[in-house]
């Protein structure tokens, strides 16, 4: 069991959270987007080992935020509300 920090609620059980994808995977915009770009957006993931930045949602309060964590040790370095961040870059 692990506790995650919701930017609004504070410490909560990990089961209250849902993974929302890698931060910075921005949806392509426009009619001239290539199929390769769509494929990259939809299917290709970096899946790095170590420090990662991910979008998560706290299901009970609906808060979307960026979590910086280590994919090996599971140590959470920080969580930032998407209300405050420029974008989930």
């Amino acid at each position: 069991m692990q506790l995650f920090h919701c930017p609004f609620c504070g410490q909560r059980d990990e089961t209250e959270f849902h993974f929302g994808g890698e931060a910075g995977n921005i949806r392509p915009d426009g009619a001239d987007v290539t199929s390769e770009r769509w494929a990259s957006y939809l299917y290709l993931r970096d899946n790095p080992k170590g420090a990662v930045r991910e979008v998560w949602v706290h299901m009970t309060c609906g808060e979307f935020f960026v979590m910086a964590r280590d994919s090996v040790s599971h140590h959470v370095a920080s969580t930032t509300s998407l209300d405050c961040a420029e974008h989930a870059q």
Partner: protein, 188 residues
């Protein structure tokens, strides 16, 4: 044809049902009005006359009408009388949704910390902005009202929560009896 109703526990009579032991009791609260308020909460407070001082997880609410924070821009408002603000969208920038039939309220009297310890890993002494949490494995809104603990759950899961509470209190009583027996054996 098989009677599939036998597969589910009988729904208790919520007006009279009580689970408990001398220092711990759980019962259902009937007759309170509940509504969600979303959007500009300050504007709602001005219109409703209810102070915008919502309680969070394990916060202490008081009185017959109070607000509980369940998200950054959403409140659960509980009152003994129907809301003076009509359901629906308001030009002030907020919406009111009646949920009295959707959520069932349970009140825990006495040593409720033992229930909390088995329902969530959260520290009941720590503050939190939102009272919405996973409690006993289901989504719930949890806070204190005076000396009591109040738990709002989806009405469809009320019987599950009741069954869970009965099992947990049985375990608490069983553990206390076992501890007492071991103490008597070691001193006797």
């Amino acid at each position: 044809m098989r009677n599939l109703a036998e597969k589910w526990a009988v729904v208790p009579d919520w007006n009279t049902a009580v689970i408990g032991r001398p220092d711990l009791a759980i019962r259902s609260l009937q007759g309170l009005h509940q509504s969600y308020v979303s959007g500009d909460l300050a504007a709602w407070s001005d219109v409703s006359g209810i102070a915008l001082q919502p309680v969070g997880a394990f916060g202490v609410a008081s009185g017959d009408a109070y607000a509980v924070r369940v998200a950054r821009d959403r409140l659960l408002v509980v009152s003994a009388s129907p809301s003076a603000v009509a359901p629906g969208w308001h030009e002030g920038g907020f919406a009111v949704t009646t949920v009295s039939a959707g959520l069932q309220i349970f009140e825990v009297e006495g040593a409720w910390s033992e229930i909390v310890a088995r329902a969530t890993p959260l520290d009941p002494g720590a503050t939190s902005a939102s009272a919405a949490m996973a409690f006993a494995g289901i989504d719930a809104v949890v806070y204190r009202h005076g000396e009591m603990l109040r738990v709002h759950v989806d009405r469809g899961l009320a019987t599950y929560f009741w069954t869970w509470a009965a099992a947990v209190i049985g375990n608490i009583v069983g553990a206390a009896s076992k501890s007492q027996m071991e103490t008597l054996e070691s001193t006797g």
